[in-house]
């Protein structure tokens, strides 16, 4: 479980680093980066809520699944963000 969590954190950090590079290099325009950042905040907030609920009720199959799904969504969004067509301005 710890190994899975570490690899997830590592993947998120790597993808967020790539997104940051895209922002700094101008490959992604500022409006797109803003939308992606807001969406990541929305997902992070959902992850925090799910984690809190799971801490209070660790045996809940629904909460375990929901947390895993939401964390997967974050990874997918970061992956998609890094494959976006480069901005030309």
């Amino acid at each position: 479980m710890q190994k899975t969590s570490a690899s997830y954190d590592s993947a998120v950090a790597e993808l967020q680093g790539a997104l940051e590079q895209g922002r700094n290099s101008g490959r992604l325009d500022s409006a797109t980066v803003r939308v992606l950042t807001q969406s990541l905040v929305t997902i992070d907030s959902a992850i925090v809520q799910a984690r809190r609920a799971l801490a209070a009720d660790p045996g809940s199959a629904y909460l375990n699944q929901h947390l895993a799904d939401t964390m997967r969504r974050k990874l997918e969004l970061l992956r998609r963000a890094n494959t976006l067509v480069p901005a030309r301005t």
């Binding site: 409006a31 797109t32 939308v35 992606l36 807001q38 969406s39 929305t42 997902i43 959902a46 809520q49 799910a50 609920a53 009720d57 045996g59 809940s60 199959a61 629904y62 909460l63 929901h66 799904d69 939401t70 969504r73 969004l77 998609r80 976006l84 067509v85 901005a87 030309r88 301005t89």
Partner: protein, 292 residues
């Protein structure tokens, strides 16, 4: 001063391009447009007509290969920026449409459509086969289509109407509304938004509707055979018809309708879940909105 006026006049000069090329069945249309719009209307001719409004600095390149017609803009001074495309293409022609700050609209296609943009809406009426519609900042709408359907946006809503086939629909911040759906496989999820489904529940089918912050409302036809699993952390469940709960755990319960051969999962972390008969959901949503 005179120089400035001349410069402004130069900047606003637009040009029209109108080119028609013959095509053969099996060829695909590829359009790449950085900014502006791509509008494709299907017609019953074996030809592609490209009408474009663009800066006089830009040139529209319509390339005909053995299997594709590719449309893009090139500029004498750097990269082409804004082009408004109005394209007529055969109904049988597959389309691959890409943009960055571009709205994309397709009307009347009877083949596969791939439409991807970053900042812009995607609206498709018609289509058959592989239908993949994606945006980041923009609503995605698909109507009167059939096939393998994959729709995605990040920051707006997704709407599907009168669609048949396998459906996957996702957004992060936005509602997802599916009406008139005929499918045995539907997978819908948003993080912040409501989910609404009105369509078939086929024997042996699999249906999943999930959100984190939002309500889930699903219609179940009278003679459906489905095992329904409901999960909500902060929210209520409401049904327009009686159900007998058979399996309960914390935050989740399930019940069977008919033989239960199909499987439906309805989940929301913060929100209510409603089950009604076809046609009742629209009335119920309308009444709920009026109450608020």
């Amino acid at each position: 001063m005179l120089l400035n006026v001349a410069a402004v006049i130069t900047l606003v000069v637009t040009q029209q391009t109108d080119t028609t090329v013959p095509v053969r069945p099996g060829m695909r249309l590829d359009v790449d447009n950085f900014g502006g719009e791509i509008v494709v209307r299907a017609w019953n001719q074996n030809a592609v007509r490209v009408q474009a409004t663009h800066s006089s600095r830009d040139r529209i390149d319509v390339g005909v290969g053995s299997s594709t017609v590719s449309v893009k803009a090139e500029s004498r001074r750097g990269l082409a920026q804004m082009v408004e495309y109005q394209i007529s293409a055969p109904t049988w022609m597959e389309m691959n449409l890409h943009g960055v700050s571009t709205d994309i609209e397709v009307d009347g296609a009877q083949a596969g459509v791939t439409a991807e943009t970053v900042n812009g809406e995607v609206k498709v009426r018609g289509g058959s086969g592989q239908l993949s519609l994606k945006s980041v900042q923009g609503a995605v709408t698909l109507q009167n289509a059939k096939g393998h359907i994959d729709v995605y946006t990040v920051n707006e809503e997704v709407t599907l109407e009168n669609v048949s086939g396998d459906v996957t629909a996702e957004t992060v911040s936005g509602d997802i509304s599916l009406g008139g759906i005929e499918s045995a496989s539907v997978e819908v999820s948003t993080v912040s938004g409501d989910v609404h489904y009105d369509g078939t529940i086929k024997d042996g089918g699999h249906y999943r509707f999930a959100t984190h912050n939002g309500d889930v409302s699903v219609s179940v036809p009278e003679r459906a055979n489905v095992t329904v699993s409901v999960a909500t952390f902060n929210g209520d469940f409401d049904s327009c018809f009686p159900v007998s709960v058979t399996n309960t755990s914390k935050h989740r319960f399930s019940f069977t309708i008919g033989s239960g051969s199909a499987r439906a999962e309805l989940e929301t972390f913060n929100g209510d879940i409603k089950l009604c008969r076809p046609g009742q959901l629209h009335d119920k949503r309308h009444n709920d909105q009026e109450d608020h």
